[in-house]
Point group: C2
Chain length 215, copies 2
């Protein structure tokens, strides 16, 4: 988050002052983040110019830098808010699955939720997928990726009680890779064709995992 109002407890580091945000400022921030999402989506992170983001938001470059110290901070804050919403919407509800649930249903449910989220926030895929992500941003990226892998691992473990952890981990990596590839295809199509790709994605995952479970 861009330096919070920070209730007057004085825990600000070296160079950052408290900055008492007005309501107008908070509005500008979300407005700028929406503009950034739009520009990132259509041009990618690197090619997106801060001037273009400001223009899209209908403000001057100076205003943008009133709220964000640099371009990277925009992407980080955007990613952070997306991850927060993701956790809030599906969050912990995704991990603990009753191991008596049929694998097919578990896979279908997980895919549906993630696909839905990514369709409503296409910028999420852009930020995760892009190989043009700079320094600090990569850390956030890796952190999210690791979280996702861990989550999938947790989801998988009850189904594969006798599999060595290293194999489960690799299986989780493969599942996430498949999901990303499927997501790309899903986002590239619309309507009935999109739904057909969602079905195919579920099929791929289910058929890959089914021979592994012991039940």
């Amino acid at each position: 988050m861009p330096e919070k109002t920070g209730k007057p407890g004085k825990q600000q580091a070296a160079d950052e002052r408290p900055v008492r945000r007005q309501a107008r400022g908070e509005r500008r921030i979300t407005q700028l983040l929406e503009a950034a999402a739009s520009v990132f989506c259509s041009t990618g992170y690197t090619a997106a110019s801060t001037n273009a983001i400001a223009r899209e938001a209908g403000v001057s470059p100076g205003t943008l830098y009133q709220f964000f110290p640099n371009k990277e901070a925009i992407a980080i804050e955007l990613g952070s808010r997306l991850m927060h919403e993701m956790r809030e919407t599906y969050g912990e509800a995704l991990a603990p699955i009753d191991p008596t649930t049929p694998l097919e249903d578990a896979v279908a449910a997980a895919v549906d939720r993630f696909i839905d989220f990514n369709c409503r926030h296409p910028v999420f895929f852009t930020l995760m997928h892009g190989p043009d992500i700079p320094g600090r941003m990569a850390e956030e990226h890796d952190a999210l990726h690791a979280t996702l892998i861990a989550r999938v691992e947790a989801l998988l473990t009850p189904f594969l009680p006798d599999t060595p952890p290293a194999d489960v981990r690799r299986t989780a990596q493969v599942c996430v890779g498949i999901y990303k590839a499927g997501l790309e295809l899903v986002l590239a199509h619309e309507g009935a064709e999109r739904e057909a790709y969602v079905r195919e994605l579920k099929n791929v995952l289910f058929r890959y995992l089914d021979p592994l479970v012991v039940d």
Copy 2:
């Protein structure tokens, strides 16, 4: 290809002269393409500066522009040569497969060949995968992708004689997507772990396709 020596048949368009290349020039071109491959690999296309490519090749920026009209042409020529080598190495031999061959073996053979090629030319993946590819390059990209899809479709059709063409096409798209995702994982690991991911990739594809075949 950067304007060919063009045997004196005068079919040069408007602004391009015949340009009689010397052996030294041809050497420079391959040298520059190797340098470009290296730089593209480590920084991606967009972030790669032409000056960096020239420096990597040990020549001045002017020399680079003696052989390529612009940065994009470097990537296009590089991609074109890679596709040519790909066709030459595995080429038509990949498409016509005896439909009595077990699906598992067909998948394994195709995966092995493509993985081998991509491991020997990691820049290929960079150029195909990057979302930071500019105008004309995207066409080449799409052309290759379409070729690949068509090839996979041809490979699949004998196994799925009763499936509607639209479904076969979608299945091919999914297979290529899975392959790309698997390739990324394979390239990210080494040695035994890499081989494990290759096995997983084959498993994913085989288990996805097996229920579809009629045999």
